[in-house]
Symmetry: C2
Subunit: 217 residues, 2 copies
Amino acid sequence: MARPRQIPKFRRAPPTVRREALIEATLVSLRKYGHEGASARRIAAEAGVSPGLINHHFPSVSALVAACYESLAMSLLRSIQQHARATDATPRERLRRFFEASFAPALLEPGLFNAWLVFWSMIAHDAGVRAVQERTYGAYRRALESLLGQVRGSEGVPAFRLRPAGIALASLLDGLWIEASLNPGAFRPAEAVALCEDWINALCAGALPSLLAGRQS
Amino acid sequence: MARPRQIPKFRRAPPTVRREALIEATLVSLRKYGHEGASARRIAAEAGVSPGLINHHFPSVSALVAACYESLAMSLLRSIQQHARATDATPRERLRRFFEASFAPALLEPGLFNAWLVFWSMIAHDAGVRAVQERTYGAYRRALESLLGQVRGSEGVPAFRLRPAGIALASLLDGLWIEASLNPGAFRPAEAVALCEDWINALCAGALPSLLAGRQS
DNA sequence: ATTGCTATTGTACAACTGTATAGCAGCGTG
DNA sequence: CACGCTGCTATACAGTTGTACAATAGCAAT
């Protein structure tokens, strides 16, 4: 007794909305299935859509994954930055909040790490993904340099070279994040935060001489 | 005028030798092609052998990749350790040499990073690879703990918690290695070594309080 | 109610994947 | 020289992949 054509077979959506939905579905698929989640059919299924639709909105699957990479990286950075500057705190407190946000449960979820591995492994072969990597890494580095710059202006803090310090801090954060993702039991988030704070304290105490100004290497 | 059957179509090899050759070919293939290099046909082509031979010597391609992972990780660790304890030096010098070996040109070659990404991305889905990861990470951590233990015994060095310190140092090394692999121009190997040395110096100066003994977190 | 634009589907395509298996052939043994 | 063990090849299989394209159909404008 069902009336014919009561429920439509699919719903149209404006390109912008559909593209965003596909990017979101890609993220879910990558988190769930890792590298195999980057397949057109897997993503389409996750989005509840036919595989052909991907090529209608994106030139290729790689381009969709690249868009997903950019969207995710920028969104995470924004969220961490927002958490860091939420209070009118001292520069050191802002850094601490940045660290805390970097090791929040959502960032340590295993699926996120696997998605990131997909992005990284595509850098070598796909120019679009490589471009996203450079852009997002630059933004990340600039965010750290900005926070470090505020700390450097504080009293009693020796002049250190901002750019290398930012790169070094990014490495430390990445290394701890990867270690925590690969080996969940190795340490607790609070320990990672403490290690980052220790590093900052050492930097501000002049205990990291290779980063002090006036040196060449 | 070629005499018939002058050149044989293939050469037999004892299982041990052939297995080693397949592992070596896998390494080359992963370095060259990244994730796509983990295909049975690609590896077989690299080894100059038919695809079916892989399943004759290994239960599956994943098992071959896992064997390659273990072989490579252990070989690299041995090589770094050997370089570190070559001299009858002080513990601090041994650590410095460990760092230098960790950022030698061979370790920073882009292909190596891409091979590593393949290993890591298989951890989530393949139990064999996961087992290798746990074993090799354990060996790596133990090596660092051993070196750190010698440093801790030195004069004027405060008692620090060995295990967390080893994990933290492993994270720092990994983070710098990844940063250098992803972004070759970010810093030079010597800077990475200097950052590691700075960290050790800070640890020995008691400037990393979260790692000092007698604390719980 | 009909028209028309176009987002969407469904399918076809060639190329690829890992693995199983039947038989060929290298090479040590007699 | 012939035998036979077994490492090895070649092929077949059912599955996957990304992309292209004709046909369909949602839905807004009229």
